[in-house]
């Protein structure tokens, strides 16, 4: 997959954070598609499908998932665990996003296989910088497996 074609999945429940994250990401990488899921349940349905619907074809284009730790219904850590539990998705880069910097949560996230852990900064300039760095690294520097090889499981 050519660099820059990858999309970003943002899983974020708070409307304010949704707007602020989307704004920062758009400024950082204007051409990458950004997919938003509003809670853990929706994210799982998007990634794995339900009994009535198949999983979204957009999953194949994902370059990174920005996953909020604290989500209603299904928590961020549970979503991470599900992603890592099946070969369909276990290769997906997952960046855990959180307001907190609790060491216990940090350790648990890495134990469950997070690729990165980012504490969202209160200062919006620094938050924007974080988003910019993340988008640039995961979408342009980092390599993910090609479609048709590991993605065809």
């Amino acid at each position: 997959m050519a660099k820059g074609d990858c999309s970003i999945l943002v899983v974020e429940d708070n409307p304010d954070d949704q707007i602020l994250t989307m704004r920062a990401l758009r400024k950082a990488s204007s051409q990458s598609p950004i997919i938003l899921q509003e809670d853990g349940q929706a994210a799982l349905e998007f990634l794995f499908g339900t009994e009535s619907s198949k999983r979204s074809p957009q999953v194949d284009t994902l370059g990174v998932i920005l996953l909020d730790l604290k989500l209603p219904k299904v928590s961020g850590l549970e979503v991470l665990r599900r992603i890592r539990s099946t070969p369909q998705t276990d290769w997906l880069p997952v960046v855990m996003m959180t307001s907190s910097d609790e060491p216990s949560e940090l350790r648990e996230a890495y134990r469950l296989g997070a690729n990165s852990f980012v504490t969202k900064q209160i200062d919006y300039s620094r938050f924007s910088e974080q988003m910019c760095l993340l988008a640039r690294y995961w979408l342009t520097v980092n390599q993910v497996p090609m479609v048709g090889s590991s993605r065809s499981f």
Binding site: L20, P103, Q121
Partner: protein, 485 residues
Amino acid sequence: MSERWRWQYWPLKTKLLLLTVSISTLGILLVCTSLVVVENRTSEEQLESELHVIADILAEQSAAALLFEDSQQINTIISSLNQINTIEQVCVYNVAGDLMSALNGTGYEPCPSLDAEPEVGFVGDYYRLLEPVMLDGDIVGQFYLMSRLEVLREHIWTFIVISFSVGIGILGLLIWVASRLQRLISEPIVELSNAADRISHEHDYSIRVPVYGKDELGRLGSAFNEMIGTIQDQNQKILQSKDDLERTVAERTSELSLANRELEAFSFSVSHDLRQPLRAIEGFGQALEEDCREQLNDVGLDYLARIRAATVRMGSLIDGMLVLSRVSRQAMEVERVDLSTMLAEIVEELQDTVDTLPSEVTIQPDMQVVGDERMLRIAFQNLLENAWKYTSKNEKRAIDVSACEELNSITIALKDNGVGFDMKYVDKLFVAFNRLHTPAQFSGTGLGLATVDRVVRRHFGRVFAESPIDSGACFYLEFPRPDRG
């Protein structure tokens, strides 16, 4: 010699029995011996007097015959003694000492000569007597008699056998009685000793010994029982207070762990839920500033800047509170920490980021403390950041960190040439949210030194500070050294 054969290992019973047996044996032996001696003496005296009577009678009868030296007559007289089996020899001498007549028993032996005075009395197996024969006051001859002692000896032997048999019988009886009676003394003592043994092994203080009578043993038993009773009461009280203490500790622990869980939940909540709205205020503030700048006048932009600055300050307050709460509740991981290296790292970070003021930082090499590395880093980061901040208005910054080692403690002194503080308010220095400078002078949350204090306290140390007028501030952190204590 095996230990159990030693006197001090013998049971009391055996000792008492042995004492009784030895004393009784000695007594019986003495009684029997004296009885035998007395009996022997009496028998001898009786024999002696009988023989003297016989001799007297015969001497009297043979006096006339002696005067006329009529041996025939004397032979007739003394031959009557043949009737007495035990008489061995009888000799009759005339006044000149010549043998006139003799009667010899089975063991023939010539009559002794009177020239050498013959032995008389009990000699060997014989009794010998020699007495003058008198007639009208004149000595007319000598009468010699020798008697065997076998009958006497047999009698004495029989007496010895009987008396010692009776003695042994009495001794047996005494041993039997003693073995019964010694229990009166030994049993209470043995019971006392067994009870003491059981109490010391089983720690069962309900054991009591039976008390016999009102003598010393009885008093000993009563005193022992009283003593064990006192111990039992005290033991009961100790166990009771131990139970109470354990219950109190358990209650406190559960209260404490509940409080800790609540504090943790609170911290999590602060971490997530208080930061999020702040981020929204700050984020939308910036978005407003960037996207709608044209619609705002200068006053509006100033208000917006103030809103954003206050939000960031609130953010650092929350961060400070979280650090403070974390150093209070997180588990300690104690190890040896190279403080000099840690301080050098912190200083390097500060020099890279904060300002460009020429700084002269002296750190004593090879300072070592034992503690939690992460917590100590937080504490010294706070202290050095303070030093940096309060020296920022100087022309040149000078910071000196040194250690003073004592027997049981190590004190780290951190000295700067900054603005210092008013010693009047030194008490408020380490209290959370208390600040000695206005935000216009120096920014800060009022949580840094409270966090330092908390870290040092968790290391069982203490922190104190002094600020001589116009010569900066000096902070002392004293850590105990358990390895040397």
